[in-house]
């Protein structure tokens, strides 16, 4: 498929990165990060565009996407909640945090809520061991969590959205 990158918001950013770093593999990861940020996922058109411009085989691009937890080919929610599942957080009760989140968001085994608002991911260490158990929502850090605190945070987010998404 010829890429239709022009229509996509990520394209100017990606082009800027390629101008700066050159048409090499070095530009691949920064480009993927930019696409993820702009589009909430890495669509196939972006893979095709990168294959054509920096000449990395599509399957290698896919390999990089699947290697990094922060990159995904699936459309993610407006809020991506990443809960640390590593040892210090686990010992401080990350299980309880995950259960509370699943319950509060009604995940039922899904990764993303049906309204496309929240995505829940378990990730390896976030570097927030001093605040264990911890999670980040998009780029916002939340530490020293317990189930009650988690319900409060999610409640706030839902409230922020209620104007146009019909929460509450």
């Amino acid at each position: 498929m010829k890429s239709e990158g022009l229509r996509h918001a990520w394209k100017p950013k990606v082009d800027g990165i390629i101008r700066e770093l050159g048409k090499t593999r070095n530009a691949l990861l920064p480009c993927l990060e930019a696409v993820q940020q702009e589009a909430g996922c890495i669509p196939q058109e972006a893979i095709t565009y990168l294959r054509e411009t920096i000449e990395v085989p599509s399957v290698d691009i896919y390999g990089v996407i699947t290697f990094y937890g922060m990159l995904t080919t699936e459309k993610q929610g407006k809020y991506v909640i990443r809960v640390c599942d590593s040892l210090p957080c686990y010992l401080n009760g990350s299980r309880e945090i995950i259960e509370a989140l699943e319950d509060e968001l009604g995940m039922n085994g899904r990764d993303t809520t049906p309204d496309g608002m929240f995505t829940l991911e378990r990730v390896a260490c976030l570097g927030l061991c001093d605040k264990a158990p911890a999670m980040i929502i998009n780029e916002e850090i939340h530490g020293d969590l317990n189930a009650e605190k988690v319900r409060g945070i999610i409640g706030m987010k839902k409230k922020e959205e209620c104007g146009w998404k019909g929460y509450y």
């Binding site: 196939q44 893979i47 085989p57 599509s58 399957v59 390999g63 290697f67």
Partner: protein, 574 residues
């Protein structure tokens, strides 16, 4: 030179040599799994570890270069213990279906486990349950058996430059995948099957049609005809207990008759026919009678054709419109042969035996129905035929030599060399010379286009016209000639391209292995057969004269165009 000791023996090797290669100097073959001669070393499996004095960790010998004064121990207790543990860990996750596995008796993992004396497996692993990739008409991948050695990825990327498989995920989730796990059938895989050859286990195999062929053979209402590619006769014996380099054309025909095929023909006949069509096409392009660009590319290798359709569609007009010998034979078996014998073409089942996995794809191409039916119904690989012969209990070694049925089975030396890289070129030149000059080419051996060099070139004097030719085998090698042509800088008139290293003798359906020396020997076998045949030019084949006189008319004529020529399709890149 670098001096070191290996197991106490002094050895001197050039700088840059790996410990594994240096060890060969002291008669040690270090056990290995992900390393494979002919591919870049990768250092993933750690089976080839050795102990180097003064270093805390064990060292993978395939990627570590020797250094001055190094003291290496290749099978100390620590090394042997580590290797056993590594294999045990691999076995802990490996399916335990060795009895029914495609690689039964040819599995490198099984062999290693035995050789390095794995007693029992102390670990209980997680047996994966991934879905099989069955999207390709040629190749099936079973990720459950994969040991993540990465050989298939290296051959696909580095040798063939097709680059459709790679690692995804990380850690214990790591897996060999295609883009978005869409499967080999939905990406630009050329079906060359070199990945099958390098896989140490049964994770990649051909899509077998042995059962379908047995069913056809047992159906009294069907009339089953068979053709065998040139390269089969140079390799089939290896699967049946004969040494590499044994020509088994006669035994092959005899075995096929005993399997129950109604008539045994030979693809070599169709190879001669290909030369008649392709030689005339070449002369037409050179003289300007055919308004198509030069260089003309050969079209017999279906892996190369699909590669071109994905990666170089701009060169489509340069590719000969001739079908491959398999696909010239197919429609003739359901028209010419059916007419001659009065058999209803509906009842004819056309089977081919090919050294090739891409031929399975080619037979299923939508345009390959010019007879009014699917021109070739089933494609067996060399390996599949060998298994049928074994299953039938045929004592191959004591079989007499028998000829193929002459009508579509008589062949010349020009046809038999199709199986080796450079062979099609040589065969075409023998006939093109006659077509242009009206005289026979005196010296038939065109040595510069023979052998295993990746790209070979030659200039042939055809009555003052210097015909420049080039030959490439392996798709990575082909790119050099293709890029030159794309840039408008190709000095050649005629270019032969074979997808597989070594040509068809190294095809994806041949006996397992990525051994270039064995492939070279198989090629020599075909050149030897050529030399020993009385007729060595395609246009001298009486059965070819007959098919034109009785049925086709003339080369590039109306009927030829309908049955023997084809067109190509630009294919998407994913």
């Amino acid at each position: 030179m670098v001096a070191l000791t290996i197991n106490g023996e002094h050895v001197k090797v050039p700088g840059g040599t790996s410990i594994m290669d240096a060890a060969k100097e002291v008669h040690i073959n270090i056990p290995h799994l992900c390393y494979l001669e002919g591919l870049e070393p990768y250092g993933a499996c750690r089976v080839c570890v050795v102990e180097v004095e003064g270093e805390r960790r064990l060292i993978p010998s395939c990627i570590r270069e020797v250094s001055e004064g190094m003291k290496v121990h290749t099978h100390s207790a620590r090394v042997r213990h580590a290797r056993r543990m590594l294999i045990e860990l691999l076995l802990a996750n490996h399916p335990e279906d060795c009895f029914t596995c495609e690689r039964n008796q040819k599995c490198e993992l099984l062999k290693l486990a035995y050789e390095i004396c794995v007693g029992d497996v102390r670990f209980e692993g997680e047996k994966p349950s991934f879905e099989l990739d069955e999207t390709s008409p040629s190749i099936i991948r079973d990720p459950n058996k994969c040991v993540l050695c990465g050989r298939c990825i290296r051959v696909c990327h580095d040798v063939q430059t097709v680059r459709v498989i790679g690692f995804a995920n990380r850690g214990p989730e790591t897996k060999v995948v295609t883009l978005l796990e869409n499967g080999l059938g939905n990406v630009e895989c050329t079906n060359c099957g070199q990945c099958i050859h390098v896989c140490p286990v049964g994770a990649i195999k051909e899509r077998s049609c042995v059962d379908e062929v047995w069913t056809a053979l047992e159906d009294p209402k069907k009339h089953v005809v068979v053709q065998e590619a040139p390269a089969i006769r140079a390799a089939l014996g290896e699967e049946l207990g004969l040494p590499v380099g044994t020509l088994v054309a006669g035994k092959m025909h005899a075995a096929l008759k005993r399997l129950g095929f109604d008539v045994v023909f030979d693809t070599n006949f169709a190879a001669d026919l290909t030369i008649m069509e392709e030689g005339n096409e070449l002369v037409g392009r050179i003289t300007g009678k055919i308004k198509k660009p030069l260089p003309q590319f050969t079209s017999c290798s279906p892996g190369w054709i699909k590669f071109m359709e994905h990666f170089y569609p701009e060169l489509m007009e340069n590719v000969s419109t001739c079908k491959s010998p398999q696909q010239m034979f197919g429609p003739l078996s359901k028209t010419y042969y059916a007419e001659k014998t009065g058999i209803d073409p509906e009842k004819v089942v056309s089977v081919s035996v090919m050294p090739c996995t891409a031929k399975k794809f080619e037979a299923q191409r939508a345009e390959m129905t010019d007879s009014g039916y699917q021109d070739v119904d089933y494609v067996l690989t060399t390996r599949e035929l060998a298994r049928m012969i074994k299953e039938a209990g045929i004592d191959f070694l004591t079989l007499p030599d028998e000829p193929a049925e002459p009508l579509m089975g008589m062949y010349t030396g020009a046809a038999t060399i199709f199986g080796a890289t450079g062979g099609v070129m040589e065969a075409a030149l023998r006939t093109a010379y006659k077509l242009v000059t009206g005289r026979e080419l005196e010296s038939l051996d065109i040595k510069p286009v023979r052998g295993m060099d990746g790209v070979k070139t030659a200039t042939v004097d055809v009555d003052g016209l210097e015909v420049k030719v080039a030959v490439a085998h392996g798709l990575g090698n082909a790119r050099k000639l293709l890029n030159e042509t794309k840039a408008g800088k190709s000095p050649y008139h005629f270019i032969e391209i074979m997808a597989c290293p070594g040509g068809c003798v190294g095809g994806g359906g041949q006996p397992y292995g990525f051994d270039m020396a064995a492939r070279a020997i198989r090629g020599e076998v075909l050149y030897k057969e050529d030399k020993e045949l009385t007729l060595r030019r395609s246009h001298e084949n009486p059965s070819i004269k007959k098919v034109y006189d009785d049925f086709l008319g003339k080369p590039l004529g109306k009927k030829s165009h309908k049955l023997l020529h084809t067109k190509y399709t630009k294919r998407e890149m994913t």
